[in-house]
């Protein structure tokens, strides 16, 4: 049978060559060179010297172990907190509305150091709860050490773990009720049905928490914790420059650790049996009053907790003078005005870098999704998992690899060194956002009805007309979604931004917030910026859900998008 295609016969080859070039120049070569720099001496010969130095220094071994322990601790704690709530949701057949499901992905779009800074205002000795408790206990987060970081990361990523867990289990909630009515005890159902169903979601949420915690730079630094592998690499690069062989080794250690985690967890994530498309069908018609009470209770409890956690930041953003008193002495909105007046540059930079990264991601994601779709069946699975495996490239490691690889390279037209421009920033962001882009684009590609294209081809429509009238309109929503996801992921990627930002005026908003949190006269402007940013992300998500409801009926399957374990068809 003849296959009709929108593309010229030769076009895919050119596009895939470009795609390969992108992956080679912006991923494989930098990482390869970094590995090479870590294990060779000045003259290029293999030398195990730096590895010996790394292993011999108790500080580095301690940092590596601390990193593993913190990341693992955060993932476990988040899972432990999420399990009882997910069981409650499952047991009572609650179905969270789409907007709440999306809010579960909010941790991916908000940097966790904001929580750490908020808790410092809330529990520090300078005011609020921390000051109230001073006579009994010193709650200051600076004294918590590693456990503090574990708690903060766990609180931050808890919604994600909860949501992936809930999404994986709700599908069979109705069947479980039927089974319970037949005489199976709930305990038995939880161990025999809920847990096996939930494992892929739980594993995915936990692995994201692990990888993000391992890679986090701003949170430990804001807590004064330096004995972790990411801050150690950061300190080495800032003291000795990008040519330091030990920072290469640390970055490699992070990559290996992340990849190992990803491979280990892939087995669990893959086990997903939930039928995502069927999920909305099992939605109960109406909640009874008991279900409603429990649902509202869960929601109220969680939102109160998060509001409390972020109240430190909200209070700081409206406080004019707040110094060693329970509550601010004077309140003012001046910080918001200052943030809006002085930080338009930061917002604009974010729009430029993240927009650029997101556009690139969508184009490359589409290509890769197309390649995966059309790959030989035995290659499909390795490709899907390999693309998702890009998730395990830590931002710190990627930034160090870029600094080493592009060191001394001149831009041909502007005559500027490459690492003095903001160009590397969106490139790093695009690599980091790629796994999500591929998912979203695969999704968009599948919404393209092949029969329409074939029909148009047969009736003699031009390629341009097909692309403009059929391909783009049907895929628009999916592509827009991909664009927004990549944009959001790039906007919070501080780990690579902190190393790659060439100047403060070139900083994206999340880095501006980090800097503003450390100006001399308090954290007002930084807090105001942070509140504005979180508000903006939440608003964007809500608007998006509204748009999805109106334009696109199977909106509920949006949720499949973020989750690489689920079947795409």
């Amino acid at each position: 049978m003849k296959r009709y295609s929108v593309l010229h016969a030769g076009t895919p080859k050119i596009l895939f060559a470009l795609l390969a070039a992108y992956l080679i120049v912006f991923f494989l070569l930098p990482v390869g060179k970094m590995l090479f720099a870590g294990i060779t001496g000045e003259d290029g010969h293999l030398a195990s010297g730096s590895i010996g130095i790394f292993i011999d220094n108790p500080l580095y071994i301690e940092s590596l172990l601390n990193s593993i322990a913190t990341a693992l601790g955060a993932a476990l704690l988040a899972a432990l907190a999420a399990l009882p709530i997910a069981i409650t949701v499952w047991r009572f057949g609650l179905q969270p509305p789409l907007i709440l499901e999306l809010f579960g992905f909010l941790p991916l779009f908000v940097p966790p150091f904001m929580l750490s800074l908020s808790l410092q205002s809330l529990l520090g000795r300078g005011g609020a709860l921390g000051m109230l408790m001073q006579p009994i206990a010193d709650l200051d987060p600076a004294l918590w050490g590693l456990p503090g970081m574990v708690v903060i990361e766990a609180i931050h990523y808890f919604p994600l773990v909860l949501m992936t867990l809930v999404l994986n289990t709700t599908a069979f909630s109705r069947q479980a009720h039927e089974a319970a009515r037949l005489g199976n005890s709930w305990l038995r159902l939880i161990t025999r049905v809920f847990l096996p169903l939930g494992v892929p979601g739980l594993a995915f949420g936990m692995v994201i928490t692990f990888l993000k915690t391992l890679d986090d730079l701003a949170t430990p630094l804001s807590l004064g914790i330096t004995n972790l592998i990411a801050p150690q690499a950061f300190f080495r690069v800032s003291t000795y420059g990008s040519q330091d062989p030990l920072s290469s080794l640390m970055a490699m250690a992070m990559i290996v650790l992340s990849a190992a985690t990803w491979i280990f967890s892939a087995g669990f994530v893959q086990q997903g049996v939930a039928n995502w498309n069927a999920a909305p069908a099992t939605r109960p018609e109406r909640f009874n009053s008991r279900q409603r009470r429990i649902g509202v209770g869960c929601l109220l409890g969680l939102s109160t907790f998060y509001l409390l956690c972020y109240s430190g930041m909200i209070l700081t953003s409206v406080a004019k003078i707040w110094s060693h008193t329970l509550l601010p002495e004077t309140l003012a909105l001046s910080h918001y005005l200052a943030a809006l007046r002085n930080e338009t540059g930061g917002f604009l930079n974010t729009l430029i870098y993240c927009g650029f990264a997101a556009l690139l991601d969508v184009v490359i994601g589409l290509l890769m999704a197309y390649a995966i779709e059309h790959a030989a069946p035995r290659w499909k699975k390795p490709l899907v998992w390999g693309a998702a495996g890009l998730l395990s490239v830590p931002g710190v490691a990627l930034a160090i690899a870029y600094l080493q690889f592009f060191h001394g390279m001149q831009l041909p037209v502007l005559g500027k060194p490459l690492d003095a421009t903001w160009f590397l920033l969106p490139m790093a962001f695009s690599i980091r956002g790629l796994p999500f882009a591929i998912r979203a684009c695969t999704f968009a590609l599948q919404s393209l009805p092949a029969s329409f294209v074939e029909a148009a081809c047969m009736s003699g429509a031009t390629r341009l007309a097909i692309v403009l009238r059929i391909v783009l309109p049907t895929m628009a929503f999916g592509l827009l979604m991909a664009l927004l996801i990549c944009f959001g992921i790039a906007a919070v990627d501080l780990s690579s931004a902190m190393l790659l930002v060439p100047s403060e005026t070139d900083a994206p908003i999340s880095y501006s917030i980090y800097l503003h949190m450390q100006t001399s006269t308090g954290r007002g402007t930084g807090s105001a910026l942070a509140v504005l940013t979180i508000g903006f992300v939440a608003l964007a998500m809500s608007l998006f859900v509204l748009a999805a409801r109106r334009n696109w009926s199977p909106a509920a399957s949006l949720r499949r998008l973020m989750f690489p374990g689920s079947a795409t068809k």
Partner: protein, 440 residues
């Protein structure tokens, strides 16, 4: 669909726009806080519509490597910072252009004993910075702690857990304070004092500005800062105060034109503006609070009543500070500080607590043997890992991979030695405590 296209168009326009901006930009590299930079940006942009100022902000400790990595003609135009060491390093690497006659003739070349400008006019003094201790009045009062007067006061047990300080490798302010203590008190005694102060710290912050920030908020009680950060907090209405502590140090804030600047004319215009009366007047703004070098400014209206006096401050200048010595070992002092303090802070705090407690116990029940053990433990915990004449501190640092690896190997030695020392000291302290407990 149309929305998607519109969004893409908007983004493309923005990206294109970003490229066209760089025409008349004056790029100023400076570790100063945003308040100061944005005030100067606003005033200068208004005064000189032909130029637009942009800032590169990074710790002054990285300036030389940052500039050397960039080809001449593409470097920032102006460096503006308070660390004399950085200017010396820039001069040594030939990264500054002579300013010749550019400047304000009303600014005296010498104030008190302090030379304001570079003798060869490669940079000009733009303001003065003094270093001292800032404290939160409410925090100290509520805990009954008196404010300190000298650096050595900070080593006392009453300040344990109330001090906040930054790292010498990340903050040029802290670096300057550490170096001035090392030079004022001598290498070994200096490190002993620094380690004792660090042992009393609640936390070591990543950025300089987080020190005054934590003190103005009353999260921690006191810490070493540069004067203007404390004064800007004080004049913005926070209950904080500041004192120049002995051995004190005053440095001129320098401003210079970078060799290989992208836009040297614009750079000159910006330097001239900062030295003019309008530029000097800006320093008195409450959120900036720096000491101008133009004496006339101190007579103008609008200066807070207890604003420091130019003459008083320059009189207390410590003349023994040798920027040459500091510059040579700049990177290594930062690296030593990180190895001894930043990366070992929790252990250092824990053992300092034990030492303070044992000392208090010995005061109640004197015991010669236990006191001797305590002294030995103190000497071991608060000692410099290498002597002042170590080749790492006296040889010019090379930025090659092998050299960095060699330094890393030495750092590993210090880390192992540090772990052993702490373990020994812990054993001695436990022994001393045991002696006191078993006394009849």
């Amino acid at each position: 669909m149309r929305r998607l296209l519109r969004l893409i168009c908007l983004m493309l326009i923005l990206v294109a726009h970003a490229g066209s901006w760089s025409a008349d930009v004056v790029l100023v590299a400076s570790p100063f806080p945003k308040e100061l930079l944005s005030a100067y940006k606003k005033a200068f942009d208004e005064q000189s519509p032909a130029y637009r100022v942009e800032f590169v902000n990074f710790p002054a400790t990285n300036t030389v490597s940052y500039l050397r990595d960039r080809a001449p003609g593409s470097r920032p135009d102006v460096f503006w910072g308070s660390s004399p060491d950085t200017f010396r390093a820039l001069r040594r690497h030939d990264l500054l252009q002579s300013l010749e006659k550019l400047g304000n003739p009303d600014i005296p070349p010498v104030i008190g004993k302090l030379a304001i400008d570079d003798p060869e006019l490669f940079y000009r003094g733009q303001a003065l910075s003094g270093y001292g201790i800032m404290w939160n009045k409410r925090y100290l009062e509520s805990r009954g702690i008196p404010p300190p007067a000298a650096w050595s006061d900070l080593a006392g047990p009453k300040y344990f857990g109330h001090i906040v300080m930054s790292s010498a490798s990340r903050s040029s302010t802290t670096h300057l304070i550490v170096e001035s203590i090392l030079q004022g008190a001598g290498w070994d005694a200096g490190w002993a004092l620094i380690l004792q102060i660090a042992g009393n710290c609640a936390t070591i912050t990543e950025r300089s500005f987080d020190v005054p920030n934590n003190i103005t908020r009353g999260r921690f009680g006191l810490g070493p800062v540069v004067d203007f950060l404390a004064l800007s907090g004080k004049y913005s209405g926070f209950p904080v105060d500041f004192a120049y502590a002995w051995p004190s140090i005053i440095t001129p804030v320098g401003i210079g034109l970078i060799n290989g600047a992208h836009n040297p004319e614009g750079g000159r215009a910006f330097i001239a503006f900062t030295l003019s009366e309008a530029g000097q007047q800006l320093l008195l703004r409450p959120d900036i609070s720096r000491l101008p070098v133009l004496p006339r400014i101190y007579e103008t209206q609008g200066r807070p009543a207890d604003y420091p006096d130019l003459f008083d401050i320059t009189r207390s200048y410590l003349p023994t500070y040798a920027p040459d010595v500091s510059e040579f070992r700049y990177q290594m002092v930062g690296a030593l500080f990180d190895q001894l303090v930043t990366f070992r802070h929790r252990e250092l705090v824990a053992i300092s607590k034990t030492i303070h407690e044992l000392a208090a116990r010995l005061q109640r029940t004197p015991d010669a043997k236990a006191a001797a053990l305590l002294e030995r433990a103190r000497a071991l915990v608060y000692r410099a890992p290498i002597p002042e004449n170590d080749e790492l501190l006296t040889k010019k640092p090379l930025k090659t991979r092998d050299h960095i690896a060699a330094i890393a190997a030495r750092e590993g030695e210090w880390a192992r030695q540090g772990d052993r020392d702490l373990a020994t000291a812990r054993a001695w302290l436990a022994q001393a405590n045991q002696l006191l407990s078993t006394r009849p």
